[in-house]
Amino acid sequence: MAGSESVVIRSGLFRYPVPEGEQPALLACRCRGCGRIFFPAREICPDCFDAGALEETAIRGHGVVHASTVVHIPAPVGIPAPYAYGYVDMAEAPVRLFALFTGAEPAWFTPGREVELVIGPVRVDGQGREVIGFLFRPAAERRER
């Protein structure tokens, strides 16, 4: 059950609430030197160092599950079992993200499945507050089938 209060998992990762009319997005950065994208955003490109400047970019939309597992014990941070997580390769950016899965049975999220980014409740913390983070759910066209 949603608590009356909610907290963002960490500031600077995404805008919350998601601005009306916008797609959920993660706030990342991109190196102008080598093009590599970093999430969470960082201050210095480890490859280009002084030769590369980082600019803000957003990661949004669809991706494909690269790896996944179903966890059968509750996470100490307060996620009930079973739940699934893994890595997702994003379609529109050369980036592989750690991904907590939601919106389907945990066993659904096998490699190759198409998923999409959502911003929403991840868990309830020790004080009963809803913790808002980023998750991946089955991509819309998949859910409609």
């Binding site: 179903v70 966890v71 059968h72 996620i79 893994g86 890595y87 592989r96």
Partner: protein
């Protein structure tokens, strides 16, 4: 660099020691190592202590100084090392560097930990990490690697579970081990699922315990006589932190193995006994591949063929490994060196590997973006 030798080793039994403190456990291991080396505290010129969780779980800092003072060592440089599961082996690496580099002629290296949690509570470390905040748990991290290894190489659940069967059989022979019962394949596969495909007995236990090693120069080692074991290679690496890669191995381990073999002037074919970081069954399969005991992807077949069991071509984790000996986090890396020294000296009792002259110990700690934060490889040689 000067040559460095292990001249004394000792450890406590690993397991549950609820009534004992970090300094109590550390003292027992240090005393055993000092007596094995035939040295008193005045003979020690530096101290290196691996501990990962003391500040978080026991509220203790400066544990190295506390433990070393228990055995009378004072007035010399003492360094506390935290590198997650590689804390103890990193302390060993630092002690090695001090002796090899000419800063001291002897060093006492100790790893000590109390990580047994009250029943029903989980070890919740690294809680500040974003991935942990999003539900990442240790077994899950390694389950992801197992899933990738199965998909890419056809490694089976049975092959992965056989690591626990083998290491529990080894642990049953080791009086220092926490788990002394040999498990069957159905018992490992049928234990409760933790993170698919890893079951309860695919995961190492939380443990309390300590282990210690005395290092010395060649001159000091000669006084110790036939018991001296040479540290032929000692490598410590950090991860590369880019998850956009093949997630069936750790780049940090490939690099550490390459460095240690190069230092030692030896290769995988020379190694006769191995201790690796089998915190979860899949780890041992991956380590066998990355250390060159078999080709990439062949780790499942290697365990199935029995090559890594006692009596096989290259026994891996004759102590029982982390799975059976137990895993007091900061002590495990030192305990591996203790086991290798016992094996090379022919003092390993019922679990003795016959005729081994070269031993290798590998352990890693922490995780970020699919790589380890720290990985060490040590190569020990009986000349």
């Amino acid at each position: 660099m000067r040559e460095v030798y292990v001249i004394g080793v000792g450890m406590t039994p690993f397991g549950k020691h609820p009534e004992r403190s970090l300094r109590d456990l550390g003292r027992e291991a240090c005393l055993a190592a000092l007596r094995d080396a035939g040295l008193g505290p005045a003979g020690i010129e530096g101290g290196y202590c691996g501990n990962a969780l003391g500040p978080a779980l026991q509220g203790e800092t400066g544990i190295g100084q506390s433990v070393l003072w228990e055995v009378g060592v004072r007035g010399v440089p003492v360094v506390n090392v935290e590198n997650a599961c590689a804390s103890g082996s990193t302390a060993l690496h630092e002690g090695f560097k001090a002796v090899a580099g000419g800063f001291s002629d002897t060093a006492l290296v100790v790893g000590v930990e109390k990580s047994v949690m009250p029943k029903g509570t989980m070890l919740n470390v690294g809680a500040a990490e974003l991935e942990v905040q999003l539900g990442d748990v240790f077994p899950g991290t390694f389950a992801l690697m197992a899933q990738q290894h199965m998909a890419r190489y056809g490694t089976t659940r049975e092959q992965i579970a056989r690591v626990a069967v083998k290491n529990s059989a080894h642990g049953a022979l080791n009086p220092y081990a926490q788990r002394r019962k040999a498990l069957t394949l159905p018992e490992v596969l049928g234990s409760p699922m933790i993170a698919d495909p890893l079951t309860l007995y695919s995961c190492c236990p939380n443990s309390d315990g300590a282990a210690a090693v005395v290092l010395a120069t060649g001159e000091r080692a000669r006084r110790a006589g036939a018991r001296a074991i040479r540290v032929a290679g000692s490598a410590l690496t950090t991860g590369t932190y880019d998850a956009r890669r093949d997630l069936t191995f750790w780049p940090s381990e490939i690099a550490a193995a390459r460095q240690a073999y190069a230092q030692a002037g030896l290769g995988p074919g020379d190694v006769g006994v191995v201790e690796v970081h089998d915190a979860f069954t899949i780890c041992e399969i991956v380590h066998c591949e990355s250390l060159g005991l078999c080709a990439a992807g062949a780790g499942g077949r290697l365990i199935e063929e029995g090559a890594t069991a006692l009596g096989g071509r290259v026994p891996v984790n004759p102590s029982g490994g982390l799975l059976a000996r137990g895993h007091p986090v900061g002590a495990s890396g030192v305990a591996q060196a203790v086991e290798i020294a016992w094996q090379l000296r022919g003092q390993a009792g019922d679990r003795q590997v016959q005729g081994a002259r070269v031993g290798l110990a590998q352990i890693m700690g922490g995780s970020q973006q699919g790589d380890a934060r720290a990985c060490t490889v040590h190569i020990l040689v009986r000349d």
